[in-house]
Symmetry: C2
Subunit: 466 residues, 2 copies
């Protein structure tokens, strides 16, 4: 049975609209979205606050949520991405399936509260601490599926192929023993996850070759071909050029920079998401944009790790698609990610209002908040391989309603609402969140708030931080 | 009568301590702060959450709070600081005394909730829209004093001398008519504000020559000398090198860069706060550090305006003092300002954990969160000319207690608590806030929450945004 919501104002693909009547079918999709209607009809659910499409987080390592803030102490030697990774390895050594589930469920509820409605889980911890497989090799991956279902967030599961410790097929280090698999093992996890998903419209399964450091060319070809045989349009994500050392090592190993190598040696297209495409030449930037792939930007994590700044204006000018990911989850708020993204550009270029207007295939908006939300939602949807990312017929019914009573939205309309959401710096503007036609956050409350979900998270923290 | 608080853990000048007993005298100062005590005594107020010193915001233009998020739309021509300023001018043209009060009171309550306990109000709107003086020339300035008192935040009032529209003593433009005054008029405002403060320990008065653009050398000398005659240690704040255009114009006008000129031509010492000392040479950086002045850093505003990145590691290495300001109030959260400050450095330098260890005159901490909070609180206190910024006998009793029940503080101790506050990205960790011995935020509630203070703010928004 189709039901209706009526939004006083909503962000549609062509921009902000008034008196929007939204039909939601029994399967949890938008059946119709009509602007400038006469008003709500009897039985419509009226949403007085501004309504935006749900946001996808296109890159998540859920377990790192419990580490947020734990790596901010200066250590001996260099303080950089690589020393951060050492701490992450020590942390991962203690991770249990129960803790992974508790952290992910806690994280996904936090993300929902801030307006994320879907997540791509780039999951690389597969084995026991001693490197042996769990009885079910997809054990840890499937804990994230269970966590997403309890939280009510849509999920794209990306089991990670992590085969080598560095370029040149160097063997894994002992602390990487939990990550190691071959393409066949990852493809078996894909099959296991698809069986567990059982056709759920809010679950998708793809793969993630970890990086060109961790996967050789033959393994990458085997993984991609194997995935295509299972699902020809399934997503493929990869960490690509987060650190300049990684770029230098790639050049030393193959003569090519990572993005350059990937674009020359793989069928990079709309299925692909290149995460942390931070360090690119102008040629790589234009070529990545032309490929149709999504650039996966993780502003809070990339700032926390001191990665560098993605060339977003040039990439957008070339028609590039992009989205945002919470990655290490030092932020769980899409508005904060988008703000940090634009602020990084402003600081680097010493100009303002850089991500505005002229999105590919859309009239665009001069308002930065509107542009950022619209493009990130669309790019995130593409990266997740899930029909979402806009309020439009045929897509999953994911939406976010802001608090109509919030002072920071008072006396503002349309573009000014999106700008306030992204740039006024006020947390908690999101009031209600719907995923696939189901309300999962109502009046800022989630069902799990009353069911002790946080106790399990605290127990995990005590175990991991002890 | 002296009363006592007992903190299970508190950030003292030498670092985190346990079982801290804090004596507060009848005048609202810390009479004694003792670590490692046996425990609370009967009648002590027990604070189970981590306790930190209250933070000073050393730079505020309160009325700009109502503009937060309104300038994020791409306009014709260049989008930069100068086009942002055009919007601010249009906004200022509508400001009434009632709106200035309502906005400031709302802002100050928001700031208190996040752990600011004092603010330096760099106030430059003095006249009616037509350029005539109010019956009481300090009318608008004193509205900020009234707002601070109703909110319960300590304030340093800095009436701004804004005499010219640019280098070379160019006359004010019509839309700057509300700002213009001569040194004698500003000194009269200082006297008026001191009378209104009536010896209140939580009010201080200084001056702010707006910038070297807006004040000529003779006026600056006259203003500083006049202030010294009133109060020899009163604070002096100035906008100094926010934009490269400003630096270029200074060189064209005087042959010197702004910081260079100021250090050569003014008695810059501990009383001074150089706000936005963004663009400095290595020599200027070292010289400013040696002067004993405070560098006023406004990370969220400087990012929003695309100003650039302050050379903080070099400045700290030279012993420089610094603090943070909310400035245009796109953020009202000191934890977010400190996070943005460190993140800007990380992105620029591609390293992590840059502001850590070895603060001047302190043993320092390797934890970035502890270091950032400690140094910003001390530098802010100096800039405000108010005894605060640490939990130590003789200072005003300003403190912030974090929520002991927050998941993000769970299973963490000492430095990890400050790192979680600054870097885990969780809003709302502050539970209780004390200013000058009085609780102004209890269980996240402020007295004005129940007194309709927000109605006046909303009314101001409707008038200003119409």
């Amino acid at each position: 049975m189709t039901r209706h919501c009526f939004a006083a104002r909503a962000l549609l693909p062509a921009g902000w609209a008034r008196n929007v009547r939204i039909a939601i079918d029994a399967a949890g999709g938008f059946a119709d979205v009509a602007a400038d209607t006469a008003g709500p009809r009897p039985g419509d659910e009226v949403l007085p606050g501004p309504v935006l499409p749900g946001m996808a987080s296109l890159h998540s390592h859920a377990f790192q949520r419990a580490m947020a803030g734990m790596a901010e102490t200066r250590g001996p030697g260099s303080d950089d991405f690589w020393s951060w990774r050492e701490l992450m390895y020590r942390f991962v050594a203690r991770l249990t399936p129960e803790a992974a589930f508790a952290i992910a469920r806690h994280l996904y509820v936090e993300m929902l509260r801030n307006g994320y409605t879907a997540v791509a889980e780039f999951h690389y911890v597969h084995r026991r601490p001693d490197g042996t497989a769990y009885a079910a090799p997809a054990e840890l991956l499937l804990r994230h599926l269970a966590a997403a279902r309890e939280a009510g967030i849509a999920i794209t599961l990306l089991p990670v192929l992590y085969r080598w410790s560095d370029f040149g097929a160097r063997p894994l280090q002992p602390r990487q023993a939990r990550f190691g698999n071959d393409p066949a093992a990852i493809l078996a996890m894909v099959e296991a996850a698809r069986r567990a998903a059982a056709g759920d419209a809010d679950v998708r399964v793809g793969v993630a070759p970890h990086s060109l450091r961790a996967v050789d060319a033959a393994s990458l070809r085997e993984l991609v071909a194997g995935l295509e045989a299972i699902d020809a349009s399934a997503p493929i994500h990869i960490h690509v050029a987060e650190q300049t050392k990684e770029v230098d090592d790639s050049v030393a190993a193959s003569g090519s920079r990572p993005v350059e190598w990937l674009l020359s040696n793989q069928p990079v297209d709309r299925r692909w998401c290149l995460v942390h495409a931070t360090h690119m030449t102008a040629d790589e930037t234009a070529a990545l944009a032309r490929s149709g792939a999504v650039a996966g930007l993780c502003p809070s994590t990339e700032a926390n790790l001191g990665d560098g700044i993605f060339p977003l204006p040039d990439y957008r000018a070339a028609g590039g698609r992009w989205g945002i990911g919470g990655d290490s989850h030092v932020s769980r708020d899409p508005a904060e990610e988008l703000r940090l993204l634009e602020y990084g550009q402003r600081l680097a270029l010493r100009r303002r209002n850089l991500v505005a207007g002229g999105a590919v295939g859309s009239p665009g908006s001069d308002a930065v908040g509107t542009t950022l939300w619209t493009e990130a939602a669309a790019g995130g949807a593409q990266a997740l391989g899930r029909p979402m990312g806009a309020l439009a017929a045929g897509l999953r019914a994911d939406l976010v309603e802001l608090d109509p009573g919030a002072a920071d939205l008072h006396a503002r309309e349309d573009d000014a609402l999106a700008n306030a959401l992204v740039f006024s710096g006020t947390p908690g503007l999101v009031r209600n969140v719907m995923v696939g036609g189901r309300w999962v956050v109502r009046e800022r409350r989630h069902r799990l708030d009353d069911e002790g979900g946080e106790d399990a998270y605290r127990q995990a923290l005590r175990m991991l931080l002890a």
